[in-house]
Structure formats: C-alpha cells, structure tokens
C-alpha cells in the first residue's frame, strides 16, 4: 500500500533553522529563489545557536579598535589554534568574511555591546588580539532573534517547524529533495528541491556529558553520509572542560572556568588537591580547552575523581556568582544547590569539529548538496578556537545559500525515485508497530555512556575496537526497537529514528579515531600520546555501494607558507 504523503516543491530546501540555516535561507531568498526552511523543533527556540553565550569572532582592526588586527593575524591564529590541520582555503574565506558579518548582524538590529560607541571585545586563549564580540551574555539568542526577523521579511521563505528530515532524496547521484516526518502529526512530507542545504549542527549528544542542547544529535551527519557525502575529521570532538555532572538536572551546564579562576576559584580532585600543574605546568588552570579537558580526564581516569565521574570546582571565594552568572550559578541556586564550594564537573562534548567535507563554495561531493555551520568541516582543524563557531555560521551560511540558489537556477530539477520515498517511509514507520523490551531512550543513554567512557577524551586502540564491538551489538538491538505511543508527537518514535543515526555517527567517529595514531588538539590517544606530523592530513569516510565504509586520506589544503614566529 502506498503511504499518502504531501509533496512540497521549492528551489532550495534548507534543513536546520539555527544561525547557519537562517543565513543560508536569507541569501537564497535574496537571489530570488523559493526557499523552504525546516527545523526539527520550533525555530528560534531550539537548536544550538541560541545556547551560545558570549563570543563571536570579528577582526577588531577593521572596526577601529585594535589597529594591528586583521584577517592576516586571525588567519594564523586559526591555523595554529587548529594545530595546523585546518584547510586554509576555508580559513581564508572565514578570515576575510568575519568582520562583515558582525556589521551585517548589527545592521539587522543585533546591537553588539559597545563602550563609547565602539565595539567591545573579549580576548580568548589563543587569540593574538581581543576580537570576541558579544551582546550581554546572550549573543547566540540575540543573533537567532534578528535572523528570524530577517527570515520573516522574505515572502519567498516558507518556514516549517517540528519537521524532522529522515532522508535526502537523490537522482543519479544528485540531491533532489528529502523525506521528512512532521513530528506533531506523524505525517510524512516529501520535498522536491533544486538543491539542499544541510545546516543541522553537531552531535554533542552522542556523549553522556555535553554542553549541547537536547537536539544536537547529528541528524545531518547521518543524512549526508547515507546520501554519499564524504565525512572528514570525524575523530575530532571538542570538549568544554568544566561542565556540571551533578545534580543531573543541570548536567552539562558550563561553569565559566576562565572567568572564575582569576577570582579565586580552584579546580581540585577528590583529595582536595589542585592537579592541573601536572598536565600543563605553566598555564595550569588557564590552559586551553583541549589541555584542560585532557588533564581533567586523566585525573579522573587515575581514580581521583568524585562519585559522579568528575573533579571539583570550589567557587566559595568568588563574589556575586548568582548575580553575575544567572544562567549557570543562578540556575544551580534555583534548583537547590546551597553552596558552590564543591561543584562536581567534567569535560562535556561542546562542538563537533568533524563533519561533511566542503570546499569554499560549501559544496559537498554530492552535486546539489551544500553544508554550512557545525555540520560542515574543514576550517577548525584539530581544535576550534573560541568565538569562531558563531561567525562560521554567518560566513558560510551566506555562501551556502548563494551557491545553492545558483545551482537550483542553472540545473533543471530532476525527479527522485518514488520507490525511495515509499521505502524510507516504511523504514521509519517500522519503529511504530510491535513491542520491544528496551525503549529507544534506554538505548540512547547506553550509547551516550559508551561513547563518553571509551571514545570521548581519552582513546586507545583497545578502547576504540571495544567500542566498535559494542556498537555492533547495540545496532542490532536498535534496529528492533519499537516506539509505542502512536503517531502524534511521539518522542519515543523520534528517539528510535535518532538512535539509528547516532549509532552510525558513533561508528564513523571510532573508525576515524583508530586511523589517527597520534594525539593532536581535541584527539588524544593514550597509545600515541604525542603529535606526529606524518598525520598532518585528513581522514575521510564515504559509504560505498555495498554499504561498507571507504576510508581515504587527503592532504591539508595550504594557501600560505608558514613563517616561524
């Protein structure tokens, strides 16, 4: 029997309504195309962009603040911050574009923080000059708000909320549309599109401890991979060092370490001793995120952590915590945390560095399929520098929108195979009928535990092979999982669909991490604990016709000769 589905047609389909997706939709609409922008939950109130608190990279030299700063200084900061693994063609584009996006958002009503009319900027570790622009401590939320306003101004953008894309449709290897589930009604929609932009964000929720919101489950990685896109640098997952692990109601909330240490906060193990000097003797608690996270993970692994798997941050000497940090310490207080002298914290997954391989036109290797923002990869290398994630969404969102619009204009729409639609709907609906002993949510929790313990910050050949083995078992159980509860807003159904994606991404991470027999930036191998420049290359994975993985490596793209500084 053929399942009834509504078919919607557009020039450009944008999947994901965060910073990158909104910016892509705006640009495609400006080019005169009809655009459909879909988001898994209510747009403007979900996704990752709104959770970004503070910094947005813009080069202040051009804004008249640090005259010596500019795209060239930023270029080397990003190259070195990424441990020389970032593709420099993308970094060039980013550095030249970042400043203009600050001004563009300003013209749209962003109202960046200013003193005497001049932008104020924070200097983050690894940055030569202060260039982290901000708006109060809700930069991401404000950005999302002005972007949504711009989206609304374009009559040729149709926004659809609560829509979960489960498959990219292809025709002869070219992206031709998508199949999606309307979460509220349980009905399916089919999109017939001239081109598709993926802007679905990262996959921090693969890990038990993460600073990422509930929907950062990496849908886009799985969609792209199954559509034939090349996935690159999947082993690189950035962790933020100090995320709360208990109480679990605030698990993942970030304690702003770099702000509170200079005010007297201490990071200690379960014996009450400071420990960072053992891992980074000079910078100690002010080390970069990757070194902090590594030090904390090693201390916890050595058995000097607390009962919830973290170490402790003692903020008892820091004044005005609740007033100054309402969205972290204020939240802790309101759920009943009485003192801040022993908050248990551990590194939490913060940014998925790896993802869909793109070129400076945001093209994936699949014609008609574009990617921007966290779901894409290439510019950050082995470690993402603070402030670059938000700016990346705007620089590359604009390019993805413009290029996808051009592709849709100059290439006649092709027809996807209706059989593919029927098959996909049958696959997704198969989780609805029948019963299973385990719930999808239980299996997601098991996956998150497994990935955090074995394939998170500290990895080894043994732990990665072990994880891959356990994933085989989990995958078998996941394919049989069932979600009772009907078709309407059935979270278990969504979890069941997500679970299949998440396991697929977890496999890619482990396979890629096994290849990289060195330690660099966010990737740390116990069995190869030093950087090794023979690995100054990217590992890429594609799905081959037999449903197997093809792993290749590709050189780092360099545009400039490095000058010793």
């Amino acid at each position: 029997m053929k399942a009834p589905t509504e078919i919607l047609s557009c020039d450009v389909l944008v999947i994901g309504g965060g910073g990158a997706g909104c910016r892509a939709a705006i640009e495609a609409a400006r080019c005169g195309n009809s655009v459909i922008l879909v988001n898994k939950f209510p747009i403007g109130r979900s996704g990752t962009t709104i959770t970004a608190m503070i910094t947005y990279t813009g080069t202040m030299g051009q804004l008249g603040i640090c005259p010596d700063d500019g795209p060239d200084v930023l270029f080397w900061d990003v190259v070195r911050g990424g441990h020389r693994l970032g593709n420099q063609d993308l970094i060039e584009v980013f550095c030249r574009g970042a400043r203009d996006t600050v001004l563009e958002l300003d013209s749209w009503g962003m109202k960046w923080d200013r003193v005497d009319g001049k932008f104020t900027a924070t200097r983050l570790p690894g940055q030569t000059y202060p260039r982290g622009n901000h708006r109060d401590a809700i930069t991401g939320m404000m950005m999302q708000r002005v972007l949504c306003e711009q989206v609304r101004k374009h009559e040729n953008i149709r926004v659809i909320d609560n829509l979960m894309v489960t498959k990219i449709l292809e025709d002869a290897g070219r992206a031709a549309g998508a199949v999606a589930l309307d979460i509220a009604s349980g009905r399916f929609l089919t999109f017939h599109a001239g081109s598709v932009v993926l802007a679905t964000g990262g996959a921090g929720r693969l890990y038990k401890v993460t600073s990422m919101p509930e929907d950062a489950r990496g849908d886009g990685f799985a969609l792209a991979y199954r559509a034939g896109a090349t996935m690159m640098d999947m082993e690189f997952q950035q962790f933020y060092p100090t995320c709360v692990v208990f109480p679990t109601s605030v698990r993942g909330v970030m304690v702003p370490g770099a702000i509170v240490y200079p005010q007297g906060a201490r990071l200690i193990n379960s014996l009450g001793e400071p420990f960072m000097h053992k891992y980074d003797p000079i910078r100690k608690e002010m080390a970069t995120r990757d070194m902090m996270s590594r030090g904390m993970a090693l201390e916890i692994a050595a058995g000097r952590g607390g009962t919830h798997g973290g170490v402790f941050i003692d903020c008892s000497k820091v004044p005005d915590l609740v007033a100054k940090h309402p969205k972290s310490f204020g939240l802790f207080k309101s759920i009943g945390m009485e003192s801040f002298d022993r908050i248990e914290v551990a590194p939490g997954a913060h940014f998925s560095i790896g993802g869909i391989q793109i070129n400076p036109f945001c093209e994936s290797n699949v014609p008609g399929l574009y990617a921007c923002g966290e779901v894409a990869t290439g510019m950050h290398g082995a470690n993402r520098c603070g402030g670059n994630a938000l700016a990346e969404t705007q620089v590359f969102g604009r390019i993805a929108g413009e290029q996808a619009a051009a592709f849709a204009r100059y290439n006649a729409k092709t027809d996807f195979c209706e059989e593919d639609v029927d098959k996909e709907i049958a696959r997704v609906r198969s989780f609805l009928t029948g019963e299973s002993k385990e719930t999808p949510k239980e299996l997601i929790c098991e996956l998150q535990e497994l990935m955090y313990k074995n394939a998170g910050l500290i990895r080894s050949e043994e732990s990665l092979l072990n994880t891959l083995n356990q994933l085989v078992d989990l995958k078998a159980r996941a394919s049989d999982v069932k979600a009772g509860g009907g078709e309407k807003y059935n979270l278990a159904w969504i979890d069941a669909i997500d679970l299949q994606n998440m396991i697929q991404i977890a496999e890619l991470i482990c396979v890629s991490a096994l290849q990289r027999k060195e330690s660099r930036g966010a990737h740390f191998r116990l069995d190869y604990s030093e950087p090794d420049d023979t690995f100054l290359k990217h590992f890429c994975i594609t799905l081959d016709k037999q449903d197997g993985r093809t792993i290749t490596s590709t050189p780092v793209i360099r545009t400039r000769e490095e000058v010793e500084s």
């Binding site: 979900s46 959770t51 509930e214």
Partner: protein
Amino acid sequence: MKTKTIQIKVLRQDPSSGQEPAYQQYTIESYPGMSVLEALQTVYGKVDSTLAIQGYACYRLVCSLCTYRVNGKLVLACRTPVEDGMVIEPPPKRNVIRDLATEIVTER
C-alpha cells in the same frame, strides 16, 4: 545520595481523540536537586514512554520551551525543584498537540 519516592500528576490529552483531558499519576525516585524537567524526562525515560513533553531543552534558561503550569503557576520546569504531589499541566492558551507538547507560535 538521599532519594525519595514521590508522585506527580500530569494532565494528559490528545485533542484529536475526542476524549477529555485526564490526570495521570506517576511515581518516581527523586533526589535533592531534581528539577521538574528532569522528573518529566524520568517519567518518559523510565516509566511511560508514551508521555509527550516538549522534545527540545536548552538547559540554560534561553529557550523557555519547558514552560509548564505547575501547581497552577507558570514556571520554567528546568529551574523549578520537583516536589511530591506536584500537578503539571500545559501552559494555558496554547494549542495542545499531545499531553505537555504544545504548538509554539512564532510570529511570521
């Protein structure tokens, strides 16, 4: 960790079913520091996976999607400690999709 068995009541409904909304009581283990949001997630995850709550949560007071009516008062569930006997309902004046999942209308 001190845990305590508590009961919470959730107003459940499916407007398309033609049936009247009804309260359902759930029993869970709570601990000091558990929020209403975590309690609802615990019900969904461990007790009754057919309970519908908003599927997204930001955990840092920016999305406000976890706005529910708790004991008659509109609160953010993520910042409200759960207590025995609490009654949890969807916010009034919102179109209910199912149970605590409601339509969020952003002007456009």
